[in-house]
């Protein structure tokens, strides 16, 4: 019965992960294209990550009620920072020579962004996504307090009824999830960086 919770936890993390990547990339692009907006965007996502997770979820709960939607919105807000920051720095650090070559070939701004700068920045962006996903696994534990389920409920229940087995099961499942995801994503990352000097 606790295995359902593992599944639930994975669902929460992956749905939030998809949204984080989409919004993170958009905000990262915006921050790269407009320097002044970029500074504001980065400051805001930085502060968002500083807010204690349970407090953030509590505030979101005012709008979405006690449901998995609250947890997902919270996870997305909480894990935006690494994706936005790495997208922005990745795009910023594309070498000027490459950009000029693309410009010289007569490519438009959009074409340059999507076919030249984005692929070059992708390894850095992927690192950001990895950090975001791995942190959101442990943040999702808070989901149980706002009725979102997941492995947090297993651990919380274990503490409540003083059942060490449950606590350990929940913890072990969380650790395994984090380590496995981190490891497999770091393998992908290594392949991505291989083409870099």
């Amino acid at each position: 019965m606790d295995w359902n919770r593992v599944w639930e936890h994975l669902m929460l993390v992956s749905i939030a992960g998809v949204f984080t990547v989409v919004f993170g990339l958009l905000l990262g692009f915006a921050a790269h294209l407009d320097r002044r907006a970029g500074r504001v965007i980065l400051a805001v996502v930085d502060v968002l990550q500083t807010i204690p997770a349970l407090a953030l979820l509590g505030i979101i709960m005012v709008f979405f009620g006690g449901s998995s939607a609250t947890v997902i919105v919270g996870l997305v807000l909480y894990s935006l920072l690494p994706v936005v920051r790495n997208t922005c720095t990745g795009l910023d650090s594309v070498s000027p020579a490459v950009k000029e070559a693309a410009l010289g070939m007569g490519m438009s701004r959009a074409a340059r962004l999507f076919t030249v700068e984005f692929p070059i920045a992708f390894p850095t962006i992927f690192t950001g996504i990895r950090i975001a996903v791995v942190t959101s696994i442990s943040v999702a534990v808070f989901g149980t307090f706002v009725g979102g389920g997941g492995l947090g409920s297993v651990i919380y229940r274990g503490i409540y009824v003083q059942d060490m087995g449950r606590i350990l099961f929940g913890t072990a499942a969380l650790m395994a999830m984090a380590v496995l995801l981190d490891f497999s994503m770091s393998l992908v990352e290594k392949r991505l960086y291989r083409h870099r000097m």
């Binding site: 500083t50 807010i51 204690p52 407090a55 006690g66 307090f145 706002v146 003083q162």
Partner: protein
């Protein structure tokens, strides 16, 4: 609004102080432990190669587990919250101290040795100052996490701002939740800024110029 403060004002003030006390004491203790362990580990690279991955894995354990397990053994005393928070806060600082010390380039240490400095002088006057930015990044991370996990101490009935959040969430009273959540958020942001300030004071001037 004034009615709200009349009802909860005193309680809120006390909660903020309790929360702050938990955070500051456990981060301070964790910093002391982590600095010593980090320096020791940086002197024993072979041991560190084994231990660092283990520490990274431990870091994935959520704070609620430490609080929960210690609660089962120690019971509902403030020591439980303090120990759990401190244990959790050690990992990021330890990791960054170690990484920062390893990151000090060999040429600086050699130059120091050439000046006739002993190992202890090199550690305190060369390596630690150069590793300062990385160490502070760790302390900042720990502090922010600890403010966050300290909210959970209310789960085992130990006060702090979590009491508001927790009660608000479980009785679906959003006023109480916000009343606990906003000060907690401000505290995290404020402590983060304070640590940034301390960092600026403590990093060698030469490094600051490179950074800005």
């Amino acid at each position: 609004m004034s009615h709200l403060f009349a009802t909860y004002g005193a309680m809120l003030g006390k909660a903020i102080l309790v929360h702050l006390a938990y955070t500051v004491t456990s981060v301070a203790a964790a910093t002391a432990v982590a600095l010593v362990l980090g320096v020791l580990l940086s002197r024993a690279p072979r041991l560190a190669r084994f231990l660092m991955p283990v520490i990274s894995i431990f870091q994935t354990i959520p704070g609620i587990v430490f609080i929960g397990i210690l609660f089962l053994y120690l019971g509902m005393v403030p020591l439980t919250a303090f120990t759990a928070l401190a244990i959790y806060a050690v990992f990021p600082i330890l990791k960054n101290t170690y990484a920062g010390l390893l990151g000090v380039e060999e040429k600086y240490k050699e130059a120091a040795r050439g000046c006739g400095m002993g190992p202890r002088q090199i550690l305190f006057q060369v390596e630690l100052p150069l590793a300062m930015p990385t160490i502070f990044a760790g302390i900042r991370m720990s502090t922010v996490y600890t403010v966050s996990w300290a909210v959970l101490t209310a789960m085992i009935g130990l006060g702090g701002l979590g009491e508001f959040v927790y009660r608000g969430v479980s009785t679906n009273n959003s006023t109480l939740t916000v009343l606990g959540a906003v000060p907690a958020a401000l505290m995290a942001v404020g402590l983060g800024a304070l640590i940034d300030l301390a960092e600026k004071r403590l990093t060698p001037r030469g490094l600051q110029e490179v950074k800005s």
